[in-house]
């Protein structure tokens, strides 16, 4: 495969230990500054919290199996869905792809030895852990029942651990900012020689756009959350109408971050898909620049649409119309990407390995999620659909489903690189099928329930909604089965010997030039770019693809 120049000698040179074993010991992991180890520790942390958030989701779905109280009280239900939302958003979806997969893969894709600021990278992991402990320990204070959006005035008047949860989100913001700063500096300064901006893998463009949002939006959330804590502790008055403040101002402040944050969740997913699809289609990506610039466009336009969460919160019709128009507008760059991916697959030599199956999953789920977003962007339909299960289903399609399938695509794609082991590809295909069926079975019915008027965040409902709720709950079990199966065969693969080839999928980007798993410094010498990241013309029959089975 290698058409890059490496300065190391032939295969006879003394073998280096891979990064997993050099050096050994728990302490060496806790004090490491190696981006690959930090990425892995992020990944295990994210997976742990995914398990926590997922179990909470299963409990929520179980409660909704019957119209009346099933297994918990209304108050417990409120705390449960709040914790589910906060854990999934702040501890899973936001860090999943950038902090876990991005940390592992970005320097490798750029041909760099590490990120620009390795110590800052480790600091971000520890800050993440501190924030995570704070978020989960709110349970000891009686939980939080505000929903993950912490809307005032309820969040300034209710008891429990709201302040601690809000501070946890503030702390987690720092971890996100540090990752963003690191990635932008890395992409600017540590690209391999001869790698211009348009020779970068598209994953790097996605990470760059994500980092721009992390840097521009997260501080605003930070100060908003601090103001909320101050409101609770000191009664400063800014969000309290009785004191001359404005509760809706909180919503503006909050969504000024949290809408761009939606793109912190989806842009990295798109970044992974842009790598996986050309590799398994054995074809140059269609519309490289269109994909790259649409990422940047999404990052910038994402700042101009926040008020579409607030069409019914009391806003002038004129402002509403502008935000509605801008929201429609942002669908364009997303659609450009989807069309480009499909055009890449067109007449490609597609091999349906697990990462590609997940990528196709992503295309379907993201398209459903994106198109249903247009209903919510229209002012008149949003009045009907606002705060119903239609919204719940829509944002689970884009935030949960798209992000999750892309994360799984990336994990399956880079798993051999991370651990030097292949997994059972037949079980992977079954797992992927279960995830797809389970996810759609869970959330498609919710579109229907929502459009018929079932409001979100209620622990009981009218009897006529029960059939579809049962379907949704059964879907959640199928989804869980798929995910547990995935966890089982992935963990089982770790017990085998490290036999994965350096380039199991026949990819053309630089990470496949490194060993599987790579040595601590990634490459023996400095790789130099010889061809574009998706140039499949020069070498139509990639070596090593047989080893994948």
């Amino acid at each position: 495969m290698a058409e890059t120049i490496s300065t190391h000698g032939a295969a006879g040179a003394a073998p280096h230990l891979d990064y997993l074993e050099d050096p050994k010991g728990l302490w060496s992991w806790l004090t490491t500054v190696d981006h690959k180890r930090i990425g892995l520790m992020y990944m295990w942390s994210v997976l742990f919290f995914f398990l926590v958030g997922g179990l909470l989701a299963l409990l929520i779905r179980l409660e909704l199996l019957t119209p009346k109280q099933t297994i918990m009280t209304a108050e417990q239900y409120n705390r449960l869905f709040t914790l589910h939302g906060a854990v999934m958003v702040f501890l899973v979806i936001i860090p999943a792809i950038p902090a876990a997969l991005g940390n592992f893969a970005l320097p490798l894709l750029l041909g760099a030895k590490d990120v620009a600021f390795p110590k800052l990278n480790l600091a971000s992991l520890y800050i993440f852990w501190i924030g995570a402990v704070m978020a989960v320990s709110t349970l000891l204070l009686g939980g939080v029942d505000t929903g993950w959006t912490f809307y005032t005035p309820y969040s300034t008047s209710t008891g429990g651990g709201v302040s601690l949860m809000v501070l946890a989100a503030f702390v987690l913001g720092f971890s996100s900012i540090f990752t963003g700063v690191n990635f932008i500096a890395t992409i600017h300064t540590l690209r391999a020689p001869k790698m211009g901006w348009f020779e970068m893998p598209l994953f790097a463009w996605g990470m760059y756009s994500t980092a721009v949002i992390q840097i521009l939006a997260t501080p605003v959330l930070g100060i908003t959350l601090l103001l909320l804590v101050m409101e609770r502790v000191l009664g400063v008055g800014i969000f309290d109408a009785q004191l001359g403040g404005d509760p809706v101002l909180f919503q503006h402040f909050f969504w000024f971050y949290s809408h761009p944050a939606v793109y912190i969740m989806i842009l990295p997913a798109m970044a992974v898909i842009s790598e996986v699809i050309p590799t398994f289609s054995k074809k140059t990506i269609f519309g490289y620049k269109a994909i790259a610039f649409s990422s940047v466009t999404i990052a910038l336009l994402g700042f101009l649409v926040w008020a579409h969460h607030m069409f019914v919160a009391g806003m002038s019709l004129f402002a509403g119309a502008i935000f509605s128009f801008l929201t429609f507008f942002i669908a364009i760059p997303s659609a450009i990407k989807v069309f480009n991916w499909i055009a890449t697959m067109w007449r490609g030599s597609i091999s349906l390995e697990a990462p590609m199956l997940y990528a196709i999953n992503f295309l379907l789920i993201f398209t459903i999620g994106g198109l249903t977003g247009l209903f919510l962007a229209s002012l008149s339909t949003d009045v009907h659909l606002h705060d119903t299960y239609f919204v719940v289903s829509h944002f689970h399609y884009v935030m949960a489903g798209s992000n999750l399938t892309a994360f799984l695509a990336g994990m399956h794609y880079w798993w051999p690189k991370m651990f030097g082991r292949m997994y059972n590809s037949r079980l992977a295909a079954i797992g992927c099928g279960l995830v797809f069926v389970g996810f759609n079975a869970t959330f498609l019915p919710q579109f229907v329930i929502g459009s018929r008027g079932m409001p979100r965040r209620y622990y009981n409902y009218l009897p006529q909604f029960q059939d579809l709720h049962v379907a949704s709950t059964v879907g959640s079990w199928i989804l869980a089965a798929g995910l547990f199966l995935t966890a089982a065969y992935l963990l089982a693969s770790l017990r085998g010997p490290k036999t994965a080839p350096a380039n199991p999928w026949g990819g053309r980007t630089l990470e496949w030039e490194a060993n599987s798993p790579p040595i601590t410094h990634n490459f023996e010498g400095q790789p130099v770019l010889q061809h574009g990241p998706y140039d499949y013309r020069a070498n139509p029959a990639p070596v090593g693809v047989e080893d994948a089975h």
């Binding site: 997260t218 009664g235 400063v236």
Partner: protein
């Protein structure tokens, strides 16, 4: 391309401070500087949220904010503004001294910068204790008697949040400068390697700049 030729900065030699993942000092310097600028962007947006909140609440309660700002001591505010401006100037000189390998001067200017920062905090301490004494406190702790215009507590909410957050930044800046000072005394910096002084300087200028906006917004509204 961001490689190879950064003759403007570090010369050709790679010093012992070159980290393993950079090819040469110029690249390392560029990364550090870019990283600090990005961090400063986040700081501007952090304070930006507070400024926007202040602006909106000021527009809604102009009389209360007007009446409340008369409780502030303009002289102390002005003194602190001048002190911070001087500290920014000495910081620039410290960076220059580091760039030109003037170790003693660098140490001297860093100490002067630290002194100015200390004076700022001392003045702030006196201002705060005066406010505490008069009950001019944020939110529900506001106990000042004899107001003719109601709602002045909100001005002091913002006063303490903005000057408090700024004060924390001054403290962090002092810690950073102290660390740079120790390294300067140790003799780490030269024309070959001075990026820590440079980026600490950038941070310090931002802390200064934020005060330049806080001062007129709080002390000089009319």
């Amino acid at each position: 391309m961001t490689t190879a030729t950064h003759t403007g900065h570090a010369g050709d030699g790679n010093s012992k401070f070159l980290q393993h993942h950079f090819r040469e000092m110029g690249q390392q310097f560029e990364a550090a500087k870019l990283g600090m600028w990005l961090f400063l962007v986040t700081e501007v947006l952090l304070f930006g949220g507070l400024f926007v909140g202040y602006g909106i609440m000021h527009a809604r309660h102009p009389e209360a904010f007007m009446a409340a700002h008369h409780h502030l001591d303009k002289v102390m505010g002005a003194v602190n503004t001048v002190v911070l401006l001087i500290s920014s100037f000495t910081m620039v000189l410290a960076v220059w001294a580091a760039q030109t390998s003037r170790r003693t001067l660098c140490i001297l200017f860093l100490i002067l910068t630290l002194l100015c920062a200390g004076v700022f905090l001392v003045v702030k301490y006196f201002e705060y204790s005066h406010k505490f004494h008069d009950g001019l406190l944020p939110g529900k702790y506001y106990t000042h008697q004899g107001d003719t215009v109601p709602g002045q507590f909100m001005f002091f909410s913002f006063y303490f949040m903005m000057t408090g957050l700024h004060g924390i930044h001054v403290l962090i800046g002092m810690i950073a400068i102290l660390w740079i000072l120790v390294r300067a005394i140790r003799g780490d910096f030269s024309s070959q390697y001075y990026s820590p002084v440079d980026i600490t300087g950038l941070y310090w200028h931002l802390v200064d700049l934020i005060w330049i906006y806080v001062f007129p917004l709080m002390y000089l509204i009319s």
